[in-house]
């Protein structure tokens, strides 16, 4: 019934939108943006349209993952705490306002201003201020060395700086900007009908040339099966987060195909505490034993149908500072039992694993499979699934003890700095404390020299191996359903970017 209604609504919508124009490319999302102000959200559903509307100083090459110029044509480190960006000349916002050094200064300082309340502020909080040198040159001055600054000036989910038009925001205010954004990206905002559609059109003056697609429509469709149904009935062109078991159906449909992206996906891990709750898990040997007891390769092969890979540390293989030579905890139940005996838990113990309810691909099943494997070495693990809002609340209060599933990454950062977000004891997600690890991560954050940073991240990975603050990190692949009329490849951080897309 919902599918029929959804399809009907889409037909009506299309009749309205597409009169006299080529059929727009329709993206169906799991929900709707609360705001389209780039600086004011950390939400995938808001970021996806914003990625089309706004632009950043730098961008990443899809193949090499190297940063390259975008709004800025070059950038360099002037001294330990000053980064200089040279802007491309002649770029304008969609309303004609010039995108100059003043706009860049305004954008960075707007996001940095605590009064603004930007949720990604902490990611750039090391920036002290921005100096305008001339109309096309800015110096970004940081309070201490900030090696990640160029990354924060490139496309990323949360905590990256999108360039916004100062005069327009002054004119319409924050509230006006949130519902009617103006950027300098490849697509311009046309209209936003809440709960129904968000329409964008090609920016003919885009600095890298006009995009091939004339119109984009984003539609919120909460139910996943309805999104897939819309794709199969030709009422949608692009669907993210397709579950593996739906792939065969999409492939067989003849109207759409699937594309699996393994790059830059979520890094998923089960965190385990060593200090917030008394119990056997306070012993590192026990935490290592848990890791040896789980056959993650089999879980990925079966429960995720092969769409993922095991990581040791919660860091993407492509990230700067990842040590490819490290041998992580493999599947070795004998060793797990031996470690448990050594720690004095030969008869096992009972523990709870807290799981989110369908936040990551087949998350509940992954946790249940882990629990069954722990059972085989004598650890009675009970999987506790929480409704999403309860899970988030309990997670913020650090009540999901002794272990819970979470994810970090997939934000296009590709840097060892991600370890800070997932492992530093002061990070929002942390339930584990290791002072040596904290110190190394902080040191790496304040070091510009790449070789030194790499060495520090290598050291951090060795500590993680010994201390086991997590249970089996893995990266999940992202599966997209794409209409056959659309030529498009997934973007590196699995956020949709449709500049390169074209209709066949």
């Amino acid at each position: 019934m919902r599918i029929v209604l959804g399809a009907l609504a889409l037909v009506v919508l299309l009749a309205g939108v597409a009169q006299g124009q080529p059929k727009p490319v329709i993206v169906v999302q799991s929900g709707e943006a609360a705001t389209l102000d780039w600086h004011m959200h950390c939400d995938k559903n808001a970021h996806e349209p914003d990625r089309q509307i706004f632009d950043t100083l730098l961008r990443r090459d899809l193949k090499t993952l190297k940063l390259e110029g975008n709004l800025a044509e070059s950038w360099r480190l002037l001294n330990e705490t000053t980064w200089q960006f040279k802007l491309r000349r002649g770029i304008k916002f969609h309303n004609g306002e010039p995108l100059d050094a003043a706009a860049v200064k305004y954008s960075i300082e707007r996001m940095l201003n605590p009064k603004q309340g930007a949720p990604g502020r902490t990611s750039i909080a090391t920036i002290d201020h921005v100096d305008v040198v001339d109309a096309s040159t800015v110096n970004v001055v940081t309070s201490k060395p900030f090696p990640l600054l160029p990354v924060r000036m490139s496309p990323g989910h949360c905590g990256t700086v999108g360039i916004v038009p100062p005069k327009y925001i002054e004119q319409v205010g924050d509230a006006g900007f949130a519902v009617k954004p103006v950027g300098s990206g490849p697509y311009k905002f046309v209209e936003w009908v809440k709960d129904e559609r968000l329409v964008l059109e090609a920016n003919r003056d885009y600095h890298r040339g006009a995009p091939a697609i004339e119109r984009l429509v984003f539609r919120p469709v909460p139910e996943l099966t309805t999104r897939v149904a819309a794709l199969l009935s030709g009422q949608a062109d692009l669907v993210s987060d397709v579950p593996p078991d739906q792939m065969a159906k999409i492939k067989a449909s003849g109207v759409a195909r699937t594309e699996v992206s393994t790059l830059g996906g979520f890094v998923i891990m089960v965190k385990i505490t060593n200090y917030l709750m008394p119990g056997p898990w306070q012993d590192a040997r026990v935490r290592r034993a848990i890791n040896y007891a789980i056959d993650m390769d089999t879980i990925i092969k079966t429960v995720l149908e092969g769409h993922g890979h095991v990581l040791g540390v919660p860091l993407e293989r492509e990230a700067f500072g990842f040590n490819p030579a490290m041998k992580w905890w493999g599947y070795d139940p004998e060793r797990a039992r031996a470690l448990l005996r050594e720690a004095g838990y030969a008869n096992g113990f009972e523990m709870t694993l807290h799981a989110p309810n369908r936040r990551y691909m087949n998350d509940i099943e992954v946790m249940q499979a882990m629990a069954a494997m722990l059972g085989k070495v004598g650890i009675k693990a009970n999987v506790q699934v929480w409704e999403q809002s309860v899970y988030t609340t309990k997670w913020r209060k650090r009540e999901l003890l002794p272990a819970y599933m979470t994810a970090w990454g997939g934000a296009g950062v590709f840097d060892g700095d991600l370890l800070v977000n997932s492992l530093h004891s002061k990070s929002a997600l942390a339930i584990h404390k290791n002072e040596a690890l904290d110190k190394i991560l902080e040191e790496a954050q304040g070091t510009n020299d790449p070789e030194k940073r790499r060495a520090l991240y290598f050291k951090a990975q060795e500590i993680v191996f010994e201390d086991a603050p997590i249970i089996k990190a893995y990266q999940q692949a992202h599966i997209f359903g794409i209409s056959n009329r659309l030529d498009w490849k997934p973007w590196i951080d699995n956020m949709l970017f449709l500049y390169d897309a074209r209709l066949k």
Binding site: V303, A369, A372, V383, V385
Partner: protein, 291 residues
């Protein structure tokens, strides 16, 4: 009506007979799941996941009703799930029934303020959205079999209280109750000897439907993720897990759904037959309102 005729009325109805058979089967599963189930309901065989019904797993075992997304045997899970459903259905009704009956009796016999209090409480109970109550209680106490019994039981006592009060009001004016009172019989004794036996017929009928309702509620809560823990197989939980595969692997949701459907229908058939057999008004009036 003499009890012999009651029994005959119950057995004589083919629908009720079918219902009794089905309920007997579910009861058997609930009592002896270990003997009937071919496998451990929680044993995962990841390499045998999504084996269709009547097919064989890679190890060569026959999966009569197929296996689920973790390679667990669905037949075994349905059999063990009967225990969860029966336990919750019966316990919740016992809880609701005892709370509701006590309050209903008090209201009916005492009258006055007690009556007002109980009945307004019952009105509040009926007006309060159940799901909200369930989410709050389970959210605070955490999901477990005990808490589900508590939620389901405490949210359905009002029906029992109303029925018992109405019957009590009618019975307490009868001559034999007056007689007992004038002979100096104590109130608890009058309740026990004269009132309770007379309201029990209605109670049994309400309770029968109550079991079916409680089983459905448990399934609904498990479906929403507020139900029994994952380590305990339950039909609602299985339905919830099977939901996302419903268009590609239908058998995950089919068997628990069918078991739930059949059990609830069976209990309702018995309930209908019981009401026909026990309700004296039905003989004359021909129809009776549903509570």
């Amino acid at each position: 009506m003499p009890s012999g005729r009651r029994t005959r009325a119950l057995i004589g109805s083919p629908a009720a007979g079918l219902g009794l058979l089905a309920v007997a089967l579910v009861t058997l599963c609930a009592l002896l799941p270990g003997l009937l189930a071919p496998a451990d309901p929680n044993e995962q065989r990841l390499l045998a996941r999504f084996t269709p019904p009547t097919a064989r797993t890679p190890d060569g075992d026959l999966a009569v009703l197929g296996t689920d997304q973790l390679g667990r045997d669905i037949l075994s899970r349905v059999i063990h799930g009967a225990r969860t459903s029966a336990l919750i259905g019966v316990s919740a009704v016992l809880l609701a029934g005892s709370v509701g009956t006590s309050l209903g009796l008090t209201a009916g016999i005492r009258g006055g303020l007690a009556d007002h209090l109980v009945m307004r409480l019952a009105d509040m109970q009926f007006a309060f959205p159940f799901i909200l109550l369930a989410i709050t209680v389970i959210g605070v106490l955490g999901p477990s079999v005990r808490n589900i019994i508590l939620v389901v039981g405490l949210s359905s006592w009002a029906t029992y209280a109303r029925v018992v009060r109405a019957e009590t009001l009618a019975v307490r004016e009868r001559a034999y109750v007056d007689a007992a009172r004038s002979l100096g019989m104590s109130v608890p004794r009058i309740v026990w000897r004269h009132i309770l036996p007379n309201v029990s017929a209605s109670l049994i009928v309400v309770a029968t439907f109550g079991v079916a309702g409680a089983i459905l509620t448990e399934a609904g809560l498990s479906f929403l993720g507020l139900g029994v823990p994952l380590s305990i197989p339950s039909w609602g939980g299985m339905l919830a897990e099977g939901r996302q595969f419903v268009d590609t692997r239908y058998w995950l949701a089919l068997s628990p759904g069918a078991a739930l459907f059949a059990t609830v229908i069976a209990i309702n058939l018995i309930g209908d037959a019981l009401r026909d057999a026990l309700d004296p008004y039905l003989q004359t009036r021909g129809t009776v309102d549903r509570f």
